[in-house]
């Protein structure tokens, strides 16, 4: 008896098991993210195996190459038409490769590259025991003021881990605006948030303040993440899927395959509304919109200034990208419900940020509140719910990131014995001491204020125009009123720099290495180019203004 015949005595052949398809991953379309993640892992290995004295240069090299390569990949994808005609959903429906995603990824990568230069700056702080130091703690694990910290400083340790941390954060930010299902969105949120919490705690000077900032950011951020996750669960209950496309179909009432297990709850509007509110809340936390802005001033002030600059620019870009995609792809059918709420948020964000900023006496806190006001302006564009709304927000984000990084880079230059002199009174008369630095900072402030011929004006005009065309005229009026209020405190800093008498014990302006100079130079150049000849970039944003569904 043959083996098979024996076998068939007591068994019967089952139906062939359906094969589990190996997931199909479009590596080429995901290459920007993959390059950055890969480089981040290489960075961890460098940290483990490369001798300490070579680490800084190795890390810097890996990071610069990775960011540049990822940017090149984004450009190649865009040139290949993935932003427009070939826009598609990749990685089994998890990632969208489309215009907004590529535009925002490009912006994040460039902002990260410029931000990286300020991370790598080692000439501003005076040398400690003959070693060049950067803005980061010598050894993060040592207790501030302890002997082990002194020993670490004396040994010339530097926290080169900041480079892989930055890359991980960037990787998360790249996925965040392109996530096409809610779980990917959540994972991306965590991937970019956790490194940022850590980076915030790593300041070399004022370490306690920095750690306090990190704890605040972490706790509030954890709350926001929990809200988001809860909202995701509710939306899953509502739609029976975490995929953006399916949820939007359920919202529109055009869904085809109903998940039998969820048939009872599917289409329950309570789940939809609460779930949406919770997810949007989490995203508004990340963009720093009122009333979820409480963390912004403390974190911006406490974090090492290069981190603040990077975070202020790139987080905002990523979070607004995700917000746009959720509101425009998942929830357009719900816009009559979310628009009134967002109107309210935009109004109090614009006014709140601008009004509270007036009373600030610390330049970093001032810029924090200014970033809140700017979040409000961008929200006005989000509310437009028109194609122009998308492209104007994209343009605004690109313009805003470079001004922000440049402005914070200038803040790192103005120093006294205690490190950066961030108290406003110390900036008095800076224009007489160092006209060039003050003039550059004035350019950034004027761009923040939205004075014509700067990128800030072009961006503000774009979002306000989109908002007005989208039927949000009153929002535009609130917007210009807040701009006027905001102009007051930007101008106050200029007055202080140029028209006040310098203090005898005032801060000095450190001469930076070419790294920071590049960061500031790029900031000024982008500010002026986007202000005077924005057409090319507006075209780019226009072409990129269509989401894939």
């Amino acid at each position: 008896m043959s083996a098979s015949a024996v076998h068939s005595l007591w068994t019967t052949a089952a139906e062939p098991i359906a094969k589990i398809d190996a997931p199909k991953i479009e590596y080429g379309q995901l290459s920007p993210t993959l390059i950055v993640v890969g480089a981040a892992i290489v960075g961890v290995l460098v940290e483990a195996f490369v001798p300490r004295k070579h680490r800084y240069y190795a890390q810097l090299f890996v990071s610069v190459v990775a960011l540049a390569a990822a940017f090149a990949a984004v450009v190649a994808l865009a040139a290949d038409g993935y932003g427009t005609t070939k826009a598609r959903i990749a990685a089994m429906g998890a990632i969208a490769v489309d215009g907004p995603a590529l535009f925002l990824q490009g912006t994040i990568l460039l902002a990260a590259l410029v931000g990286l230069f300020t991370f790598a700056e080692r000439r501003l702080d005076p040398e400690a025991h003959g070693n060049r130091v950067d803005s980061f703690a010598a050894q993060a694990a040592s207790v501030p003021g302890s002997d082990s910290e002194k020993a670490a400083v004396k040994a010339g340790f530097t926290t080169t881990e900041v480079f892989p941390l930055l890359l991980f954060a960037v990787a998360g930010m790249l996925v965040f605006p392109s996530a096409n299902d809610l779980l990917t969105l959540f994972i991306a949120l965590e991937v970019f948030s956790l490194p940022l919490y850590l980076l915030c705690a790593l300041a070399r000077r004022k370490r306690l303040m920095s750690q306090e900032a990190a704890v605040k950011y972490f706790l509030l951020g954890a709350f926001a993440s929990a809200f988001t996750l809860f909202g995701i669960a509710l939306l899953y209950g509502y739609a029976g899927s975490v995929s953006y496309g399916t949820i939007s179909q359920v919202v529109d009432g055009t869904v085809k395959n109903v998940n039998p297990a969820l048939a009872d709850t599917m289409g329950n509007d309570a789940l939809l509304l609460i779930g949406t509110a919770l997810i949007v809340m989490g995203l508004l936390f990340k963009v720093g919109a009122v009333p979820f802005h409480m963390w912004t001033p403390d974190v911006y002030q406490g974090a090492p200034t290069p981190v603040t600059g990077f975070m202020a620019a790139a987080t905002k870009v990523a979070a607004f990208g995700a917000l746009l995609r959720i509101l425009y792809v998942v929830l357009p059918g719900l816009r009559w419900d979310w628009r009134p709420v967002m109107w309210g948020v935009a109004v109090i964000t614009m006014l709140g940020g601008a009004i509270v900023a007036i009373t600030q006496t610390d330049i970093k806190r001032l810029l924090a509140y200014s970033s809140i006001a700017h979040a409000g302006f961008i929200l006005a564009g989000v509310i437009a719910t028109t194609p122009d709304g998308v492209s104007s927000v994209l343009f605004y984000l690109a313009a805003y990131s470079f001004v922000t990084i440049g402005a914070f880079a200038v803040v790192t230059l103005v120093r006294d014995a205690g490190g950066e002199a961030t108290h406003l009174s110390k900036w008095a008369g800076l224009g007489r001491r160092s006209p060039l630095v003050a003039a550059v900072f004035a350019v950034f402030l004027l761009a923040f204020a939205g004075i014509p011929l700067t990128s800030g004006f072009a961006g503000k005009f774009a979002v306000f125009k989109a908002a007005a065309e989208g039927g949000a005229g009153p929002l535009v009026v609130v917007g210009v009123i807040s701009s006027a209020i905001a102009a007051f405190f930007y101008i106050r800093v200029i007055v202080l720099m140029f028209f006040s008498e310098p203090k005898p014990e005032g801060p000095t302006v450190a001469v930076p290495s070419p790294l920071t100079m590049t960061a500031i130079g790029v900031g000024v150049a982008v500010t002026l180019v986007l202000g005077v000849a924005p057409q090319y970039f507006l075209d780019l944003a226009n072409q990129a203004g269509v989401f894939v569904r």
Binding site: R432, R433, P435, L446, I451, P452, L453, F457, A458, F461, A462, F464, K465, A468, E469, G473, V476, V477, G479, V480, I481, S483, A484, A487, F488, I491, R492, V495, F498, F499, S500, E501, P534, Q535, L538, D539, N542
Partner: protein, 523 residues
């Protein structure tokens, strides 16, 4: 393509500003000479514009049009009508005198100081202002106009806040504080006005779908663009508010006395004689053309505000103790006349208003610059610190008198013609307002002559007894202005020929005809 004359007229001072700022710190005098040369070159270009302009030709001439920011519907569109030509000529004419008058105003206090280079900055900022003012007179694209209307605030702000009179009764620290207060007040008033205008500019685009002045005006005229009455009124108010701050019209005027008092005399002239004209010019060009119905709707209120400006400005001028503040309040009074002329909606009124802009520019420049020379000699702005100057410095006193007489519109000097036209134009439509406005002239005589009497006549005060008379440079500033005042006072025809056709076109935009004379109507 023909030579872009309008662009060149604005580009030359803009490039000159950059070049002046780039002159090395030690070569201070080279920077001054360069700035003066550039401003003279700009004057030559402005004269070329004047020559090439044909008063009886099409409405906008020497037009240029290029794509700029297609996404916003913004084009780089320039074109001038007679009103713009006159004001460009005024601007280009005054700047060289302003630069010459301010020759030493920005010299560093301590010699050999390398830390701060105010001199280059002072003249570069002036040229930058000139470029932006000229562009805003030329722009026929609302957005383009808005950009320069707003952007010129920044160099003006630094000119006011960064450079003040040398001497100050309360010491340098107090002077610096007051100066920055004045600069901030100037900026905030104008910025708020500008931002409100921004909302209206966006609203206009949403309604009209274009920023081109000619396109919108044509569409309005042939009825293809309809605006709801309330929309038109809101947009009009948005625009008018910004221009009324700039002009300045009561009750938005309070920044002007501060700004003029604290800045040096040449900068004060720049503010009142050049920059503020953009406000009144824009009322004529944009408010009336874009929103004719709303302009008519708002006329009564605006005329009343203008009337208050005239009387209030003049009354406050009478009571001033500070020479520069006095001139500032006098200017507020004069801007009231200009705005009244514009909104009287008669051809005499608007021609008069346009002439008034030019003549007020020249006469204020003459008066204020001489006042500046006077103040720099004594180191005080207070009228009470002077007395009997005419015995010590007769030429200075004489030119001051002529400037003053021009300010009070003495017949034979240029401002008389324009003030007379404004009053006649207003009277023919609104007799009561015309009559009350006439009191402004009486008060003008009072504040000017009392100023002259207190400072120049009477016993010679000890502090002024050694006062030198006008130097050659100062005389070179004042003499041409006075010649011009007399020439335009006796023979204003060249100016009126340029201005009148443009005024007629503007009036036809608002569908207004001159009221028929009473005698004819009675027949």
């Amino acid at each position: 393509m023909s030579f872009p004359l309008l662009t060149a007229t604005a580009a030359l001072p803009a490039i000159g500003a950059v070049a002046t700022a780039a002159v090395p710190a030690a070569r201070r005098n080279a920077a001054k000479s360069l700035a003066l040369l550039v401003s003279l070159g700009t004057l030559a270009l402005a004269i070329a514009v004047l020559v090439r302009f044909d008063p009886d030709g099409s409405r906008y001439q020497l037009t240029e049009s290029h794509a700029w920011i297609a996404d916003f519907g913004v084009r780089y569109e320039l074109g001038v009508d007679g009103i713009a030509v006159a004001l460009i000529a005024l601007t280009a004419l005054l700047i060289p005198f302003i630069i010459l008058a301010g020759w030493h105003d920005a010299d560093p206090l301590e010699t050999g100081s390398k830390r701060w280079r105010p001199t280059q900055g002072f003249f570069a900022l002036m040229l930058a202002v000139e470029a932006m003012v000229i562009l805003s007179f030329e722009a026929t694209d609302v957005f383009l106009f808005y950009i320069f209307f707003e952007a010129m605030l920044i160099p003006m702000y630094f000119l006011i806040g960064g450079f003040g009179d040398r001497a100050h009764e309360h010491g340098e620290q107090a002077a610096s504080t007051q100066r920055s207060y004045a600069a901030v007040k100037f900026l905030l008033y104008n910025l708020v006005g500008g931002l409100i205008m921004l909302a209206a500019v966006i609203g206009l685009y949403v309604v009209a779908g274009s920023f081109s002045l000619t396109e919108i005006a044509d569409a309005r005229a042939n009825g293809s663009l309809h605006m709801a009455t309330s929309t038109e009124r809101w947009l009009f108010l948005g625009f008018f508010f910004a221009f009324a701050v700039k002009a300045p019209l009561w009750p938005l005027h309070t920044w002007l006395p501060n700004a003029m008092q604290e800045s040096t005399a040449p900068v004060a002239v720049l503010i009142t004689a050049v920059v503020d004209k953009v406000g009144t010019f824009a009322m004529l060009r944009f408010c009336l053309q874009l929103f004719p119905e709303a302009s008519k709707w708002a006329t009564p209120a605006i005329l009343v505000l203008a009337l208050i400006s005239i009387v209030y400005g003049a009354l406050l001028a009478v009571g001033q103790r500070d020479i520069k503040r006095l001139v500032a309040y006098a200017s507020i009074s004069h801007f009231g006349f200009i705005i009244m002329g514009i909104f009287a909606m008669t051809s005499q009124g608007q021609s008069g208003a346009t002439l008034y802009m030019v003549n007020h520019g020249i006469s204020t420049a003459a008066l204020m610059l001489v006042a500046g020379f006077l103040i720099s000699r004594r180191g005080s702005r207070l009228i009470a610190d002077y007395g009997g100057v005419q015995k010590v410095a007769p030429v200075l006193a004489g030119t001051f008198l002529i400037g003053g007489l021009a300010t009070l519109s003495l017949p034979g000097l240029a401002p008389f013609v324009s003030e007379f036209l404004v009053l006649v134009g207003t009277f023919s439509r609104y007799p009561a307002i015309g009559i009350i406005a006439t009191f402004g002239i009486v008060l003008a005589a009072l504040y000017t002559l009392v100023l002259y009497q207190r400072t120049m006549t009477g016993p010679v005060k000890a502090e002024v007894s050694a006062m030198p008379d006008l130097r050659a440079r100062e005389l070179a500033v004042v003499a041409p202005l006075i010649v011009l005042l007399i020439f335009l006072g006796v023979y204003p025809k060249p100016l009126t020929d340029i201005v009148n056709p443009a005024v007629q076109q503007t009036l036809s935009d608002v569908h207004q005809k001159d009221p028929r004379p009473e005698v004819e109507a009675a027949k």
